[in-house]
Symmetry: none
């Protein structure tokens, strides 16, 4: 069998949406000017994809696992470990990892800002260092900053369990207590609660926070863990499919998923995981990786951020920037390289959260069937020749188009 | 996440069909004048649905289970218990329930009319009372009339088994003997056969039947049990999905399915489950229920009856009546209420029975993508943006459109 082409998957995080009155019952993708995405749609096969299953809103972690061909119900163990790997922490067997937010609370631990004003940069590096010095009996504490207000907490010790509840209540309420979800998790829940109390004591009067208060900014005076998980054993993409792969992403969660799947995770200057991310830098990094890899996944978070912020105009603007990125990619790759455009989930602006709507998918190369679809959007894609597929079917379909699939039978 | 809209599912029982020469190779849905259903199609997402699986003809019980999000292969235990709950019989653990027909037999038990001229009303109430007085050793007998010629038999006693064959041969043949399908079912099969013999003895000379014979009507001189089943334990829709739900239906089987799924089953005057049913009364009842419920399912049996009767013209006429019902509904609900039009199965008139063809589905509200489909029929729907889905995926899709789904991952 001829070993074949290469593929670039562009995950436009949360780009799918629903028709909304604010846009005259069209979606941001339908409204935005996006000649390059439409070019891909016209030169490829289009469809819609239930990333997990029909009607099930995916997280960004479970969605990327599915897109990479894994069954999230088999390998997903909670957000923590994926976030940990994404920030460069190597977990050991028995470790329990948590995704955390730096947050702002009052004296009675009522949450005033779940993201401490989206603090980030050198401030969270310094505060994470301080938190890493906290001592809890019988448990080693490791803290590492992630994008913006995010951080990772790793507990290492004997008889720890990932089955503990979140301290972060996910809304503006009082900080919750972590409770054991199974009897064996008592020690872990206590360690988490002890750590959170210590984090408040260490952070509340820290000079960085005093300075933030002076500047009228919300202080990052507590760390709120959630998404406990142990480190899953995931067969690498190389072992599973025989392809060399790499990932370009700004947010640590996606880096973590790709890292745990054995992809090379490339750091790109300017890839912030925020609205200010340098999309062209990411495109150029991906194009360079295609020289040596079979498969490159690029995640751009910006459309999802605009959606969570409830901003239609911003989302349309992000889509038009993404389109220029697609233009750069399609102008640079060889014509038999497969370009896949898709979202990891829909994030309707009006909802401000992930939905379970299917995402649009376009698979385009000069060897792909053209199905007459003229535009890359939720409705046009739904009428395309790819039909309605599942997230975990994408990789097998792609491998086959790369002439790297294995025959079943003879 | 914002809790969202409400949904009304209109199950047009057996409305799907196949192209037939009698209608110039079109289907009744393609022929009927139905501006309101077409309005829904134009303002919504359309698709086709394999209610159970491709090519598998669903029963009305298994189809409604699937439409409500259950896997019939897990929860379906036979028709009897669903029919029993539908007529208001509460089954105990260990009971075995049968769906039955009042039928007409000759002296040698050859069946002359499987439905005793579609007897019903006060006659079957009286005859069921008489049958309930039959005594079988070690088994308590409960008989209750259902719609038209239908009734329910419930056996209560020790060591009963649902694994017995049907007495009703489902065609014009000799009455069959119930046989045990497993060794432990011997007692039950004997009880059923004893009961059927007694039913003949009690019914053949009953004054009601003497009067029927005098009037030239077929007598209901035997009761034929079939569809033995034990009472399944089904997680309620409230527990499964967190929604408050109700059902409006004429036929007891659908009432029973909805009742066993924990839905409020509302009795509507004029909802007969027959061709004479008051569709507007059902629509109005459903609209009123939407004030307090998240989800309302309405079943109208009429199109299925016309199909079983092999009457194309009648089916077209029923569809046009159904269309006026859809008009009443769409003119009354708020624009963000989701209207779902579908069939529970196809019942091609030419076949006179359920087929495994996929059914057309239209999901319509002002927040649903419009996919360019212009009409509600089998072919138009198959070209729509919803693609080809499975019955049990409908509820998750609907819950997500109601903003009541749960994210998997983060």
């Amino acid at each position: 069998m001829r070993r074949g082409g290469k593929a670039l998957i562009l995950v436009m995080d949360g780009v799918g949406d629903r028709p909304t009155e604010a846009l005259e019952f069209r979606t941001p993708l339908q409204v935005a000017r996006k000649p390059n995405m439409n070019w891909c749609a016209r030169h490829g096969s289009n469809g819609i994809m239930d990333v997990i299953a029909p009607g099930v809103p995916p997280g960004s972690d479970t969605s990327h696992l599915a897109i990479l061909g894994y069954d999230p119900s088999e390998v997903y163990t909670g957000r923590g470990p994926f976030e940990a790997v994404g920030v460069g922490l190597t977990g050991k067997n028995g470790d329990v990892a948590f995704r955390c937010n730096f947050a702002t609370v009052d004296d009675e631990w009522n949450i005033l800002d779940r993201r401490a004003g989206r603090i980030g940069g050198p401030e969270t590096v310094e505060l994470s260092n301080v938190l890493g010095k906290i001592r809890i009996k019988g448990v080693k504490i490791i803290v590492k900053e992630a994008t913006e207000h995010r951080a990772v907490l790793l507990l290492r010790g004997k008889e720890l369990s990932p089955f503990v509840s979140d301290v972060d209540p996910h809304l503006l309420a009082r900080v919750a207590k972590s409770t054991p979800l199974v009897p064996k998790a008592k020690k872990t829940a206590k360690a988490v609660n002890d750590f959170v109390r210590e984090s408040y004591l260490v952070l509340k009067n820290h000079p960085i926070n005093q300075k933030r208060v002076d500047q009228g900014k919300p202080p990052a005076n507590i760390l709120l863990p959630r998404g406990a998980g142990s480190f899953p054993r995931i067969q690498s993409i190389k072992d599973k499919y025989g392809v060399e792969s790499a990932c370009v992403a700004g947010v640590s969660l996606v880096k973590g998923v790709c890292g745990l799947c054995g992809m090379e995770v490339v750091e790109v200057t300017g890839a912030t995981g925020g609205l200010d991310t340098d999309m062209n830098a990411k495109a150029n990094a991906a194009l360079k990786l295609l020289d040596s890899k079979d498969l490159v996944l690029v995640n751009v978070k910006a459309a999802d951020i605009a959606s969570h912020d409830g901003n239609h105009e911003k989302k349309v603007e992000v889509i038009e920037r993404l389109d220029r990125m697609v233009g750069l990619i399609r102008g640079s790759v060889s014509p038999d390289t497969i370009i896949v455009l898709l979202a990891d989930h829909c994030t309707p602006v009006q909802l401000g959260d992930h939905s379970g709507d299917p995402v649009p998918v376009s698979i385009c190369s000069n060897n792909t069937s053209k199905d007459g679809v003229e535009a890359f959007d939720e409705v046009s894609a739904s009428l395309g020749g790819l039909g309605r597929i599942r997230g975990k079917d994408l990789m097998p379909i792609l491998l086959d188009k790369m002439n790297m699939s294995k025959k079943f039978g003879s």
